[in-house]
Subunit: 190 residues, 2 copies
Amino acid sequence: MSRLAILGAARDLLLERGYERLTIDAIAARAGVGKQTIYRWWASKSAVVADAALEGDLAPPLVPLPDTGDIETDLGDWLRAWTERLTTAEGTSLILALTAATADDRAVADTLYDRFTQPHEQLLRDRLELARVAGQLAPDAPVPTIAGVLIGSMLYRVLSRQAPPTADDANLVVRLVFNGSGNRSRRTGV
Amino acid sequence: MSRLAILGAARDLLLERGYERLTIDAIAARAGVGKQTIYRWWASKSAVVADAALEGDLAPPLVPLPDTGDIETDLGDWLRAWTERLTTAEGTSLILALTAATADDRAVADTLYDRFTQPHEQLLRDRLELARVAGQLAPDAPVPTIAGVLIGSMLYRVLSRQAPPTADDANLVVRLVFNGSGNRSRRTGV
DNA sequence: CAGTTACGAGACGATTTGTCTCGGAACCGG
DNA sequence: CCGGTTCCGAGACAAATCGTCTCGTAACTG
């Protein structure tokens, strides 16, 4: 099956040239495959990219999120590790390409979210829910919102293509989400 | 000067068809302008899009951020208003198009950030800094991080093209950022 | 060994890109 | 009023890319 060769070629070219400058011809040439073989299985460039991200080992395996009993430490560790992945050259190219594909095609957006972003978000939600039930979070803590804030904050820094997020940024966001920044009810931060 | 006609046509087509399906020919035709006139002033599609966003009244004027003395209320009002703009059909198309342009071209990314995103972020930072000095925030509150979290969280929801952010989401994020979600030092939320 | 299927290769017309040339309109100096 | 200059709409053009198609070969089937 040349499917893997195609997805591998798509992945390489995606990282090399970005989504806009990726062509079907180039994928076919690098994969040593006829164009028709690509069109046989995928309807568009964005669909190939979506599958390449999902199957072609481009998608990093989920960063593990342990449960040591200390939710703040666990989330901090996770967010730092996740951020480090995002900020590698490969991770950044990937995110930019997938974001372009998402903007391009609604169906691809759904696929990518379900199979790429949502699992990370779900991981966070599950861990947060455990912590909430265990009394480490406020009983009415908005778990889905917290997960979105953690991911969205880091992603925003990557997508703006200005200063990429650092480990310190990840730490600050986690601290902020747990302790808040208001002055009335503050205990300690560090 | 046909500059404004070009930017206006680019804006219309951008909102109608999205960034990927926007063509220079179509812009020229709708603007009643020769293609050369476009190439005389802009180097690429992404550059035209960037200018269209910035000049062609596509960029919403800054949502005002008043100072009533209550930072949490002020930021809540602002974030809700800003989110409402993002979630209109026009706002969403615009954000998707600009994100695609940002992923496409590094120079355009810098321009768009400086003139489009950064002003909003700066507005938040200034207001937050005032509040911090006034003692409404913890003395060591990470002002730039907070601004990025507010904007990034909402933007993430728009870019994922799943459930768009609501006024409730904006409220939750603001509350979260001020009060935190940890259980040790919580007073009230509402 | 004949029939069938898969697929690499590439020709093809359509579309878009970016460059180039033409011709007319507006403005300028005399 | 007129010749010169500049601006710019219009569109021709080659190159690149798209998605479809056809061909020829290799592998598999019975």
